[in-house]
Amino acid sequence: MLYIKCPHCGMRSQNEFAYGGDASIKRPELNIKISDQDWDNFVYNRKSLRGKHLELWQHLLGCRQWIKVERDTATHEIFKTLKANENI
């Protein structure tokens, strides 16, 4: 069982959360020329590395806020949780 500290609600079990994937992926800016490769990288291509991984989770069965979690993908250790608009 993972325990995730929601920055709004405190420590809760993983059962209350839904996973949202890599938080470092940025949608390309609108109104500028965007190459196919940029779209590809945004929609499909992922690093998905072993080790520290910054990711999005949603506290679906709690405050329903999206949050950022820094977690180790090999040990599942959670180092830090942040509000969605905060940066590490």
Partner: protein, 418 residues
């Protein structure tokens, strides 16, 4: 190589089975090879075997970080099937079914292929319609498919819940009678033994630390046991694809996720089919030892842990109990996890890359085991001829940018309903 046969078995019995040849030798890396396959799992071993057998390329090394067949080859639920609707998936996996049927003879190794049939259960009229369509598509592609109504399913698997007050009543099912299971370790060992006998070096405990790439061409691979000069490299590393892609400065449409499976304590024969639950994600079969082999959803977040968490297992087994209530009486004997190379559309990638001499085989999601022979065969063709075969033409790396996705099941890296 010593042939495995009843006569050799009797002959060796006289010497107390002390004089059998080793199935494969423990090779040390040479300085140079024609082809290096990274990953000593089923796909890597099969690739090396078909390179030697079909293309006469025997100066080949398989490099494996751990031990042979110790990754997903030793962690799957051994299901073999070709019940796909899309042409690309259907033709590829039906070609594989043919290789499965001949495998024990071909490899001179009993892989215990058991074509016992698979039933996908349907739990609504709409699902029956979808299964009818898929079954018809399969039959048009020459794959056997039988649509079963509720009564027919009840005759085959009476232990499933056919009572009136269930949340997901069984309306019927789609059966592929020729699908089945096989002994997973034997597949790895059989391919390894034959590949070794044709001159392939199987190098275990050898980690890839980097690649020698210059002006867009592969020149070699760096390993924990020395540098190797080579012009062609095939990546068959499943859950470690993202790690090696990073060493090649590539980002690929694959995420690495965790999938669990488990077996119950052994019981007397009760289930002679592979059965999948249609209202969730759960599959079950009974092993020759009597254990109920079960699996289901991904844990749902990026992971390299090779061990799972309880909530997902609990969720999966709840589905199992809903489908077959007797499972609630069984104790779980073992659970384990493997790391999946989840592609973004749920279909694999077997293709060349932008680096000359680098070939990619990944994105197998939940379905890598059944694809072992077909994947090895087509990947060997792609490496040897430097072009894709028509069987794996649909499994291209650039389909994500061109929009030709093979999103047959609407599955990918995310468990969308969670």
């Amino acid at each position: 190589m010593q042939k495995y046969s009843i006569f050799n078995l009797i002959k060796n019995a006289f010497s107390g089975h002390q004089n059998w040849d080793l199935a494969w030798k423990d090779a040390t890396p040479k300085k140079e090879y024609d082809v290096v396959i990274i990953g000593g799992g089923g796909h890597g071993l099969a690739t090396a075997y078909y390179l030697a057998k079909e293309h006469n390329i025997t100066n080949v090394a398989i490099i494996e970080k751990g031990w042979l067949g110790g990754g997903n080859m030793g962690r799957n639920t051994t299901i073999i099937r070709s019940n796909y609707m899309y042409d690309d998936n259907a033709m590829f996996s039906e070609f594989g079914m043919d290789l499965w049927r001949k495998m024990s003879q071909d490899l001179n190794y009993n892989v215990m292929f058991s074509p016992r049939g698979i039933i996908n259960l349907a739990h609504s009229d709409a699902q029956m319609n979808i299964f009818t369509r898929r079954g018809n598509s399969m039959r048009l592609n020459g794959i056997d498919a039988v649509l079963l109504n509720r009564e027919e399913v009840k005759k085959i698997i009476p232990m499933a819940d056919f009572s009136d007050n269930v949340r997901f009543p069984i309306f019927g099912g789609l059966m592929q009678p020729s699908a089945g299971t096989a002994r997973h370790d034997a597949v790895a060992w059989g391919y390894a033994r034959q590949a070794d006998s044709m001159g392939v070096d199987i190098i275990q405990n050898c980690e890839v630390t980097g690649f020698d790439v210059s002006s867009g061409k592969i020149n070699g691979v760096r390993t924990s046991r020395g540098d190797i000069k080579v012009k062609k490299i095939g990546l068959c590393v499943a859950g470690s694809t993202n790690i090696l892609a990073e060493k090649l400065n590539m980002t690929i449409p694959v995420e690495t996720h965790l999938l669990q499976a488990c077996v119950s304590e052994p019981v007397k024969p009760v289930l002679d089919k592979v059965v999948t639950f249609g209202a969730g994600h759960f599959y079950i079969s009974q092993s020759d030892k009597g254990e109920m082999v079960m699996g289901g959803d991904l844990d749902g977040y990026n992971s390299y842990a090779q061990r799972g968490n309880l909530p997902t297992l609990q969720h999966v087994l709840t589905e199992g109990v809903a489908m077959m209530p007797f499972l609630s009486k069984l104790k779980i004997l073992r659970t384990w996890g493997g790391i999946m190379d989840m592609s973004m559309d749920g279909s694999p990638i077997i293709d060349k890359t932008h680096i000359e001499g680098l070939y990619l085989n990944c994105g197998w999601c939940y379905g890598g085991f059944k694809a072992t022979p077909a994947s090895g065969w087509t990947f060997a063709h792609t490496i040897a001829q430097d072009r894709v075969h028509k069987l794996n033409a649909g499994y291209s790396l650039n389909r994500f940018s061109t929009g030709h996705l093979l999103d047959e099941k609407g599955l990918g890296t995310k468990t969308w309903i969670s």
